[in-house]
Structure formats: structure tokens, C-alpha cells
Amino acid sequence: MEAFVGIDTNLERSRSDLPFKSIPAATHLFSRWFDSSPLTCALKHQRKMALHSFSSARFCTSKFPICFHLSKPSKFPLFSHRSISFEKIPTKSPPPLRSSSTQLQPMEELPPKLQEIIKLFQSVEEPKAKYEQLMFYGKNLNPLDTQFKTKENKVEGCVSQVWVRAYLDEDKNVFYQADSDSVLTKGLAALLVNGLSGRPAQEILRVPPDFAVLLGLQQSLTPSRNNGFLNMLKLMQRKALELLIEAEKGNGAYGNGQVVTDNSEKPVENSNSDSNVDENSGVRLSSQKSNEDNSSGLGSRGMRIKEKLERELSPIELEVEDVSYQHAGHAGVRGSDGETHFNVRIVSKEFEGKSLVKRHRLIYGLLDEELQTGLHALSLVAKTPSEVEAK
């Protein structure tokens, strides 16, 4: 979001220089504009101006919104020798509800290895060299065993043949292997394999497809159905989601060390593979489940938080979500066991009559011990039952 701020230091001085009187009606309106409050925030001003009752219908029906008028000085001879310069001031979008840490640029939300790869490609300017880099990645890709070159592992809509295999390790991180008969596609696959392997499924699911823009590889950008790159990414994300669902189904508790591989009897791909995968909602997966299931995916701290809140506040709704993975590498996280950031949504009668600040303080008080021992941030939604019903 940007606000246009007109800065014209000559305004006061030059006002009198201009032959207002000799120029027809439009400028008469401008003199009224100048006479009103000083030119500080043009945006706020312009809203005011719009509300002003300008007598000239011509002005009100002008094709340009008021804020742009001034940027086209040629339209009005009035401005021909004036210099109004406009500066774009980036305004911060309201901070997201979830996290108390600083707002992240899109790039930094990507898995770290992927960021590295993107930076590498950005530093290589010449297209030919980019291709060489791509092919270099492809060359060094670990070969994919023929037994994994199955229909379920094949990327759809690719003019060349591409296979992708996904599996989880003990820490529930997703690992990929891929192969292709086309070297450029293999390079793209390698790029994704290297960039995404070893990350938790939720992080992979959050990778937006348009990150490919950052690579500067034109061929990955055509939105045709034959865009293998996007389809590769989609398949990898779908497989990550499937693995995640499998793992959570298999045994609720976090960190049980269950490894799901393609060698298992039940192929991971066939279970629960719904075509309606919304990659970006992978994060919301745990919160979309009913409250009873919410314990799955929480570690010991998460469980403690839940228990305490339940005990002390008797909530009618309680959702505790561990979003620590989003902040891996963040300063506050280093040295802890990983359970550092949580989203909590709680609806309880206890909040009645309390201001928002009081509600939050209440919760922080209850979780004080956790906060002392590594809990870094809580993102809270605290409502009363009547507030929730009122919606």
C-alpha cells in the first residue's frame, strides 16, 4: 500500500505568482484547494477534497482521481512551470494476527536452501549461464531408482517425463528424489528437490508457486498446462501433504519417530489423496480439525499450555497451534527445543468484563512458567462466548 504525498515546497511562494484570475473555472477550484489546510498528507487531504462541494461538475467527473491530477501537470497549464514532486511512502500493512515477530518479506518465508538457490540464480544474469546452472543442478541430482518411476510419481502435463518421489525421515521432514529425461526439466526438478528437501511438510506447503518469478527463468513462467515446473511443485506439495496426513493419522502424538516410506505396503500416494489440496491451507490443517483432535501435532509444551488454559479458564473453545517452524532460524528460537511460537484461540466466560489487554495479561500470567523456559511468543485470540455468538 502506498500513499502519495505531494511535496511542493514552492507552494506558498508561487501561489501568488499564478494568474488564477485569468484562467477559467477549473483553476478557481484549485485556489480554494490551496486555501484550505496545508499540503501535508495528500491522501487524507484528497479524501477531504472529494467531499468538498466543488461547484464545477467538470471537476467532479474528471477522469483522473484527484490525487493523480497533480501528477499530470500538462493537463492544466496552471502547473506547467510548477514542480510538484510526489514521493511514494510505503505504508505498512496491518501486522498479521499470528505472530509477534517482525513482518517477513515473502522471500524469507521460503525454506532456507530454496532462498539460497534463488539468490544464486538472481546473481547469474546471462540466460545461457542460468541454463548452465540449472543443468549443473540436474547433473548432480541423485538418481531415482526405476521402481519409483510409477504413474503416481509422474508429473502430469509435462512434455518430458518427470518423476518425483517423497518420503519422511525420523524428524518428519520431507525428502524428495526426482528424475527426468529432459536435462532442463531435470535441472528444475533438482532445484526443487534441493530447495525443499529436509523441511517439514507445512513449510513446503506454504511455498507459493510464484516464487519461480524470483528465479528469472522464463520457461518456468508460462501458465500453460504444460508448465512442468509448476506441476512439479504442485505434486511435491501434494505428496508432502499426503505424507503429513499419513503421519498424523498413523499415530497422533508428535515426535513418535514413525517413518513413512514408499516401501511400505500401503502406498502413501493413494491414501487420502484429494485433488482439492489447498497448499496454503496446509498450515491451517491442525486448526481445522475439531478440538478433540487438536492434541495431535503438539509437543509437550503445547500440551502443557493446553492443559493449563483448560484448567484455569474452562473455555468452551480452545485451539492451540504450534507455529514454531515458521520461525526456525529466528533469534529467539535458537537454543530451544523448537516449541517457541504458538497461536492460541480461546473462548471463555472468564473474559467477560475484561478488556483485551486484561485478557491477554491473564493468559500470560497463567503461562508465565512457559514464557520463562523458552516459549517465545503467543499470538492470542481471546473472546467471550457472547462475542462469538454475536457473529
Binding site: K128, M135, V159, S160, S182, V183, L184, T185, Q218
Partner: protein
């Protein structure tokens, strides 16, 4: 006949067309029948490609920083300004719905639309314009035959003969109809020249054969089939022949009466006309017996609540408002092509075809599909090929990104053929009369560069 302007360019000292052609690369063993033409082309006269290029504004642009070299004409052709103007003129001056209107614009639109139909009929030497049905494209035309003629003429056990090199549009509708009617599809394979085996086809034709579906010119192999012979064999057993002429009508003289084909289909967009229109040629007696394909306005005679009666062909098969402007554009394209002369276009493209094949042969480790050109075997001006160890998509991508050369890679809507050839995909360069030898040179140069680039990585 040699037409050309002798240009006094400093780099071309020879202006005498009588100079015998130097043809060093006759290793393929064929004689250029238009040898003198080629000499003139080499030595400074304006080739058809050069003289027509100015008519195609789209060719004069850069892509990815290089001059565009458009070699994907088998997928779709470019349109000359005459066609563009005709389209614009239609919409600007007399756009109106056809056939039923009373007023001036409607009458004019109807006249022009029907005139376009006559032009198509004349272009392929149909005996009457009522034998031309406008469709959306050749695919729809084939579907029309399949659903209309096929459903009412095929019985369990009826045989339809096709080749494995047919375009998907010529195969898939018949698979559906075969399922519905119990008919059987039989496929002719390729012979040692990598051309559909005509002898095998002849052998397959029997009393059970109801229909033979063949391409005239193959969009992958570049081969030309002897349609007249096939029609004779088919008619001898009472079978009909459907000719897929998508790759032939734009490039050579096609005479449906000479071929005696029963059905023939083509698309406008491959013959310098706009997309959205194509046509079916069907012999009058056949069309008269066929039930409608799509139902709706325009194709009816009288409509009651419980039944309707239908119009005569071709209207019977043209439901709804047609692509009027586009059909008129197709008419303009035909005018343009006729103005050049299809024989001249064919001769020039034969030149180019041989030149392209020759030059491609020089690329190391290349495998070109289809027959070798010779005295008896003519190739169309297209080559599908693969370079060993390099995926065709990689080639096409690199050619496009680094050299602005547009070719196609994939299965070219001929998966069964590719399966038979043992490959997943191939690259294809296809020319049209507005391409030049320089285009071919540029293509080969770029291809060499591309191949070295990928090979250096092995």
C-alpha cells in the same frame, strides 16, 4: 516458370540464370526438378518466401532478443494482411447475422458468407458449393462424419481402416463410434521407408471395410499418400474414404474430384485463414443421406414441439450462428493463395523441403523421421527429428530462448506413431511458403549451437 526480379546486389555478381546450378550435395541421390529455379533462387532473384514476407506483419518481430524465425507452420500458419483486412472490414462495415435477415447488412453478410463457401468449393474443385460444410475446424468435421455418417452406417463387425500415423483427431472420434456401433478399428503400420504401408492397407481392405481414414500428408513424417489409389481400392469394395487434408490443402493443389474422395476435411487456420473455421467436403449423395450432427437454429426446416424437420445440406450440418467473419476470412485467404498459385507454392516448398532435409542431415547424431526424399518420394516441408541424448523439449526451449527460433516439441498429436517409433516426443520444424532459405540456415545454425551447448554438459 521462373518469376522473379533480378536484384542488382553487389554480393551477387551472377545475373545469368543460364548458369548451370552447382549442386554439390546430391548425396541423397535425387534430382532437383526445378533446378534452374534453385539456381535463380541462389543467385539473387527474389524467392517466393522473400516476396511474400512483407504480407505477414507478424513475422517481423523479435522474440527473446532475437529475430523471430517461425517454423511451426504445421501447428498453425500466419495470416497475410489481406485476411486481416477482410476480417476487419467485415466487422466494420457489414457484420450481421446470415441467412434469415431481410435488411441490407444481413443480405451482404449472407452473400459474402456464401461466396466464401463457393471459394472453398472452387479451391478444392468440389462440384458444387453445397458439398462444403463449414465447421469449427477439421476435428469437428471428422466428428461430424463420425457421429452423423458413422452412427447410421456402421454395424457390429464393420471395419474402419486407419494408419498408426493418423492425428488424434482422426483416431479418437472413431474409437468412440466404434464403441457405440460395434465396429472394429484396424491400423496400418509403417513400411521400411517410414511411410504408412500402402500395400498392407490394400491387403486390409475387404467387404467388411466400410471406411478408410487416411491423411493426405503426414504432420510428423512429411510423407504423402497416394489417395487416388486408396480410393480406387476402397470403392471397389463399397467402402468410403475420409481424407484428412489439413497438411495438404495449404501446401499443394488438392482436387477432390480428381481424388474421388468421399469426405475431405481441412482447417482454415493452417491455410493462412483465421482460427475458428474449417470445412468438411462431402459428396452430395452422401450428405443428403446423413442425419444432422448438432441440432439447433439454421439447420431446421420446420420446428414443432414434438419433432422437427431438417434443412438440406450443407445447412443441415451448420447449427447456430456460424463463424461468419472467419469464414469470410477463409475466403480471403483462399483468394490470397490462389493469387500466388498453389502449384507455385508447392514447387517452392518442395525446394525448401529438400533444403531443410539436407541441412538437417548435417547435424551430428540426428534422426529424422519419415522417408528420404527421392524421385518417387516427395516430402512435405517439415521434419520431425530427435538428436541423440538431447530431449526435444530442451532443444525447443533453448532454440526459442536463445535464438528466437520457434519449433514444436512433443508428440504432435500422434502418440501412437511416436510409440511405434519408440520415442516419447520429437522436435518438429515445419515451413510454409513465406519461409526462406535464410530461415532454414538460421535454424540449422541455432540448432548446431544448441546441440553443442547440451553436448558440452554430458
Amino acid at each position: 516458370m521462373v518469376e522473379g526480379v533480378f536484384v542488382k546486389l553487389p554480393s551477387f555478381p551472377f545475373l545469368n540464370p543460364a548458369v548451370s546450378p552447382s549442386s554439390p550435395n546430391c548425396r541423397l541421390g535425387f534430382r532437383r526438378f526445378s533446378a534452374s529455379l534453385s539456381a535463380v533462387v541462389k543467385e539473387g532473384s527474389v524467392s517466393l518466401g522473400h516476396s511474400t514476407r512483407p504480407d505477414f506483419p507478424i513475422l517481423h518481430q523479435e522474440v527473446n532478443g532475437s529475430k523471430l524465425v517461425y517454423l511451426d507452420n504445421a501447428a498453425t500458419s500466419q495470416k497475410p494482411t489481406a485476411v486481416l483486412k477482410a476480417l476487419q472490414n467485415y466487422y466494420e462495415t457489414y457484420n450481421s447475422n446470415v441467412h434469415r435477415g431481410i435488411h441490407y447488412l444481413s443480405a451482404k453478410a449472407t452473400d459474402e458468407y456464401e461466396l466464401a463457401r463457393k471459394k472453398v468449393a472452387a479451391f478444392i474443385n468440389a462440384s458444387d458449393s453445397t458439398e462444403i460444410v463449414f465447421t469449427r475446424n477439421a476435428t469437428e468435421a471428422i466428428n461430424l462424419v463420425a457421429y452423423s455418417w458413422g452412427l447410421s452406417n456402421l454395424r457390429p463387425g464393420s471395419e474402419i481402416i486407419l494408419s498408426i500415423a493418423e492425428h488424434h483427431s482422426a483416431i479418437v472420434p472413431w474409437q468412440t463410434i466404434a464403441q457405440k456401433t460395434g465396429a472394429i478399428l484396424r491400423f496400418v503400420s509403417l513400411d521400411e521407408n517410414e511411410v504408412p504401408d500402402v500395400e498392407e492397407l490394400r491387403g486390409m481392405i475387404s467387404e467388411r471395410t466400410e471406411l478408410v481414414v487416411v491423411h493426405h500428408v503426414s504432420n510428423v513424417l512429411g510423407s504423402v499418400l497416394p489417395i487416388e489409389d486408396i480410393v480406387i481400392w476402397a470403392h471397389a469394395v463399397g467402402a468410403k474414404v475420409l481424407v484428412d487434408a489439413c497438411q495438404s490443402v495449404p501446401h499443394m493443389v488438392v482436387d477432390v474430384q480428381g481424388l474421388d474422395a468421399d469426405f475431405l476435411v481441412a482447417s482454415s487456420h493452417k491455410m493462412c485463414g483465421p482460427t475458428g473455421v474449417g470445412f468438411l467436403f462431402g459428396k452430395s449423395n452422401l450428405l443428403l443421406d446423413m442425419p444432422p450432427f448438432l441440432g439447433g437454429g439454421e439447420m431446421i426446416s420446420d420446428v414443432f414441439l414434438d419433432h422437427s424437420t431438417y434443412a438440406e445440406p450443407p445447412s443441415r450440418f451448420e447449427a447456430g450462428t456460424p463463424a461468419i467473419g472467419e469464414a469470410i476470412g477463409l475466403g480471403a485467404a483462399i483468394d490470397y493463395l490462389s493469387g500466388i498459385g498453389m502449384q507455385k507454392i508447392h514447387d517452392y516448398e518442395m525446394e525448401l523441403a529438400n533444403y531443410l532435409y539436407e541441412k538437417l542431415c548435417s547435424v551430428p547424431n540426428i534422426r529424422i523421421y519419415g522417408p528420404k526424399p527421392s524421385d518417387n518420394i516427395h516430402r512435405a516441408a517439415l521434419c520431425s527429428f530427435n538428436v541423440e541424448n538431447i530431449h526435444p523439449t530442451d532443444l525447443a526451449t533453448f532454440l526459442d530462448q536463445q535464438h528466437g527460433v520457434a519449433i514444436r516439441s512433443g508428440h504432435h498429436c500422434a502418440q501412437p506413431l511416436h510409440r511405434h517409433l519408440g520415442v516419447n516426443a520429437s522436435a518438429r520444424a515445419s515451413l510454409h511458403f513465406y519461409n526462406t532459405r535464410e530461415d532454414v540456415d538460421e535454424f540449422i545454425r541455432s540448432l548446431d549451437d544448441t546441440v553443442s551447448f547440451f553436448n558440452s554438459f554430458k
